[in-house]
Amino acid sequence: MAKASRRFRRAARRRALRGLPRGRVLKALTSSTLALPGLASHADELGSLGIEADYKYARYSEDRIPSSKVTPGGERDRYTIDVNQVHLSGPITERFKLDLDVGYEVMSGATPWYVVPNPSGGQPLQVMTGATIDEKRTDGSLKGTMLFDRGSAALSGGVSVENDYLAFTGGLDGERYFNEKNTTLSGGLGFSIDRIEPTDAEAFGRNSEEDKQTVSGFLGLSQVLGRETIVQATLQYQFDNGFLSDPYKRALVEGVPVPDARPDMRHQISLLTRFRHHFETLRATLHADYRFYVDDWGINAHTFEVAWYQTLWESLRLIPSFRYYTQSAADFYAPYYEGPRGDNHYSSDYRLSPYGAISWRIKAETRFQIWSLDWIANVGYEQYMSGGNYAIRGVSVENPGLVGFDMLSAGLTLRF
């Protein structure tokens, strides 16, 4: 391998001596200069102070559930969420930077409660929660990253608070570069400790307090395949332990609604592969991602995402994207149960049912300068549809609670 590498490098040098194409000399010399020790600080990459502030607002609204799918009564409004995200990032020293994320969201609307058979013999019907849940969630996280010549290491911690839910998260991750940063190995470990105190617990016969713990890890490898191409493969594993059911949902067993009861352990594995390629002449970049997922509840899922980043003029970028998702059902899932199960696991949650989903998005982004600061503004729209008919394998009984939504988002980034 070393001999081939030497031969290749000598050939590359010979090619190089024929002269670089016009207009690239300035860039080539400057990049080469920045590679010299002490001439580029990591802060330089983001701006002269290296500080960045981002804000994003998104309004997520679920489609109404049609009267053909809901009972009792007719069409019902579903969930709406207003999300606010703030991100701040800056260097503390030349080798250490801090990232702060704060989020605040307001959620309201009705959610699926349990599924009942259709008296007229058609597809099952969804019973929605009567009360409109009005919840606020605040979360914050802090991450400190140490930068080295050949990699980086980061420590992070966060907390999330809702009226009925409290979670603490933490993680450690790092990156190591090889082959002049042509190859990057990344890995990390994380944990989460959650506590749920369901509202109106006693009234609905729920436990007043339940816990859940999560441990996860990932290992990733990314490789530069050429001047304009890079690929990455990441293996993720997550283990959940504790109360994994949804305290606000029921399942109908022999005509009687029982609390949603899922196993108290779950192992999940996913393999994510990502591809990025830049088309110089088209002034565009292609993103293509595929994820394979499997867990020990019997669910396997595939996700495909493609996005096209098209640069128009100097400061405008248009980004259409498309996502396809398909999942199989959990072993213990059923819209409703004609008899009890031996393992006593029951759930009619559409999230554990077999289905597929398609979403398309369009986003526009523009950059400009005000008060000699760099700004980026973006606005995006997404429409998501799910259904049994979108799944990769035929679905005979689709869960009536399957949801569609659309989302409008707008964001602003400031660098200085």
Partner: protein, 72 residues
């Protein structure tokens, strides 16, 4: 499944043969573009990750770190 294995194999081969296709530091202008990043808009990636995590059964996101919310 075979498609997935092929992709993984491609990545492994690419990594192993990296000596043949090394891109030098001063040739990285295209790779350094913001739209070539894994997540050009990290807030959007986090938002999507959160939404898909709460709508679907599978893992979203590309790192470690728990869900931290009651939405699933």
């Amino acid at each position: 499944m075979t498609r997935l294995l092929a992709f993984a194999a491609l990545c492994a081969v690419a990594a192993a043969s990296s000596g043949c296709t090394a891109v030098r530091p001063w040739e990285r202008d295209a790779l350094a573009r913001r739209d070539m990043a894994w997540d050009p808009d990290p807030l959007e990636a986090a938002l999507h990750s959160h939404i898909y995590f709460s709508k679907e059964a599978s893992l979203a996101g590309s790192g470690a770190g728990g869900g931290g919310c009651g939405c699933n």
